[in-house]
């Protein structure tokens, strides 16, 4: 019985090889990421193939997802943001959403569960750094030195700027940290919680007699927590995407 709640995050190579001395094996994490990306790309291709005026069910889902992200980006960053960043934000959202959702598949009777890539901070940190660097590069390319207005909000008297500017700088540089850690810690904590509660069931059954009957309680709790984790899986993908929109808006329109 594998009841170590951390064991589910183990990375196992599927095809081992190395590039220039670095371990570049294709692992279960890579498989989950590639699988999620391919599945999303395939679904959207397949659903939009008819491109009918009156959409079928799959096309409604695809168009709904597109419209959802489009509206979110438009609210946060305006039409200019939509024109420049819709593919980026939509890809980011879908990638995280697929990774979270596929990771919800449990392991059954020895079949190994699907790895959740977003439970590794290296994955979420790479995504957050990508957003952070995009903001800096686009911000300087579009606004030049005016990008520094980001740290000096307009309408603030100069003596307050002495306090506000350092706070703005610290908050700007802590963004990628909180961006990465939020997604990672939510998924990690959720999966550990599920495993801990699920672990109570065999432990109570093994205790025997009356305790065996009590095992229904943690089982019910696990089912309810699973529902909650599906909500978290969607919500964290949404939160990551909406924060990306807000940060990109800063790059396009610094100085609020």
């Amino acid at each position: 019985m594998a009841d170590n709640p951390i064991e589910q995050f183990g990375i196992h190579p599927i095809a081992e090889f190395s590039v220039a001395g670095y371990d570049a094996s294709f692992t279960n994490a890579s498989l989950a990421m590639v699988g999620g990306a391919v599945l999303a790309a395939w679904f959207f291709n397949w659903a939009m193939k008819p491109a009918a005026m009156v959409p079928n069910r799959a096309q409604v889902v695809a168009e709904g997802a597109y419209g959802f992200i489009h509206g979110m980006l438009k609210d946060a960053a305006g039409t200019e943001g939509v024109k420049k960043f819709l593919p980026f934000v939509f890809t980011l959202f879908l990638f995280i959403f697929m990774a979270n959702m596929l990771g919800m598949f449990p392991g059954v009777f020895g079949v190994h569960h699907i790895f959740t890539p977003t439970s590794q901070i290296v994955v979420t940190a790479a995504l957050a750094m990508m957003v952070f660097l995009t903001v800096i590069v686009v911000g300087f390319a579009k606004n030049g030195l005016k990008f520094f207005k980001l740290f000096a909000p307009s309408g603030v008297p100069w003596y307050l700027l002495l306090i506000v500017t350092p706070i703005e700088i610290i908050s700007f540089f802590s963004r990628p940290l909180s961006h990465a850690v939020r997604l990672w810690a939510n998924i990690l904590a959720g999966h550990i919680l599920l495993k801990v509660f699920a672990g109570f069931v065999p432990a109570l059954i093994a205790a025997g007699g009356f305790y065996g009957l009590l095992s229904v309680l943690p089982l019910a709790m696990t089912v309810m927590l699973y529902g909650l984790e599906f909500l978290v899986a969607f919500l964290q993908a949404y939160v990551f995407a909406i924060l990306t929109c807000i940060y990109l808006n800063d790059a396009l329109h610094p100085g609020h």
Partner: protein, 77 residues
């Protein structure tokens, strides 16, 4: 006190930081509901703001969880 015990006590103390995040998230959703009950037609338009406030508040609780995890699994004992 040896280092392992100190790390475990520290991890427990770090989790107290989640208390603040819990209060903050409660305030956000409570106030959103209050506003939404007063003017239900304006509520859907503020969903993005709600989630943004929730995410920013929750981040601080997540930081304390991060400290706890670092103390439990990363600090050499």
């Amino acid at each position: 006190m040896d280092a392992t015990a100190a790390a475990y006590i520290g991890a427990g103390l770090a989790c107290l930081g989640m208390l603040g995040a819990a209060i903050g998230v409660g305030i956000i959703f409570g106030n959103f509901l209050q506003g939404a009950m007063r003017n239900p037609s304006a509520a859907p338009g503020q969903f993005g703001n709600l989630i943004f406030g929730f995410a920013v508040t929750e981040a601080l609780g997540i930081f304390s969880l991060l400290i706890a995890i670092l103390l439990l699994f990363v600090v050499p004992k």
